[in-house]
Symmetry: C2
């Protein structure tokens, strides 16, 4: 795992660098997904499931964003995916400049689909464009029904919501219909897929959605 | 619920205001607990459990920190607890200035134990002192074993960790011993209590710990 340590996050000029990233990625034919969600929502597990099920002709790469460490990067590298680790030195999100650094260490010409797994956080990542084509948020069934009203920006800026860990539903007090009503209250058009990375439930719809994003 | 809307977070002078808050709270005989954790970790459920089990002679109050809304404040108000809601206008944490505003709306002379429920976030709240006597973090069993290595500051600055939702352990792949090893690796002295707000397991130890904090 290559690890890049970033000293301090800079908001200034973020949108300009995000546009440059997007242009470079599009020129190289790369579709980029910014994957966001709370700590432990199941972002890496979703990516592990994706690696095994995506059409093998689609060449994947991953940029992993973490405050410290490279645990998730190593999980994905074990599956044969090229991974670059970004350590944010305390910053609670990735910004476009950090991702630009990450792109320098990837072979974009050999990449069709790039996942950028953001720092686990339901707040700050929603505020920073990084040059992505799509924003996908992961919300776990264990997080409760009230998250849309408490963290509306994440739900409003995302193009897709994955409701993860649905295999746990029989053991939780969560009412999925009540949750979906809350989601619609803050983001009426947000599509929601219900997925379990453990059982594979919902995987087909997720892969179909992803393949629909490819250029 | 009284709601205070804060325009913009300010880091400057935070420690000075935190010291002032702490002095004011101590002068009034109030013990203050800053409660932190990811979205959906179970912070409000822990408080609900606490209200029902704490010695009735201990007079409680709560400051609720949320980006938007007052869902948790209303849950606690229903139990008869004085609650002040702070809305952070997008800020991902409470700071000392926001808490100072909140204190103005509480009757400190009639309060023995004040909980400040921070914004759901495993990163930023750990960086801001608010004038608390104790920092308590809640980590849910559903968040996985790797969080200490990924969010070390929260584990290092906390005085107690609550491992919540332990009633779900039979349905998860989590190895609690592996998690506790990870906790000790980043914060060797951090005490950990295993709690289920749903079943009441571990409640006695939590209440004992709290009562040991009272002046």
């Amino acid at each position: 795992v290559r690890t890049i340590r970033i000293e301090g996050a800079v908001m200034e000029g973020n949108d300009r660098i995000a546009d440059e990233n997007r242009r470079a990625l599009r020129d190289a034919g790369v579709t980029t997904v910014n994957l966001m969600g709370s700590p432990g929502a199941g972002k890496t597990a979703l990516l592990e499931m994706t690696v095994g099920r995506l059409d093998p002709s689609v060449r994947l790469a991953v940029i992993e964003g973490d405050i410290e460490g490279s645990l998730d990067a190593r999980r994905l590298e074990r599956l044969g995916v090229p991974v670059v680790q970004i350590n944010t030195s305390g910053a609670c999100h990735l910004d476009a400049r950090m991702v630009r650094e990450g792109l320098r260490h990837l072979d974009l010409g050999s990449t069709d689909l790039l996942f950028v797994e953001n720092v686990g956080n339901l707040v700050c990542p929603a505020e920073f464009r990084i040059g992505e084509d799509r924003k996908v948020m992961v919300l776990s069934t264990t997080e409760g029904e009230d998250k849309p009203l408490k963290y509306p920006l994440m739900f409003r800026t995302s193009d897709l919501m994955i409701l993860s860990k649905i295999d746990l539903l029989p053991h939780l007090d969560l009412d999925p219909d009540a949750l979906l009503m809350q989601v619609r209250a803050v983001s009426p058009e947000l599509p929601v897929l219900q997925v379990s990375a453990r059982s594979g439930q919902g995987a087909r719809q997720w892969i179909d959605w992803l393949e629909g994003c490819l250029g």
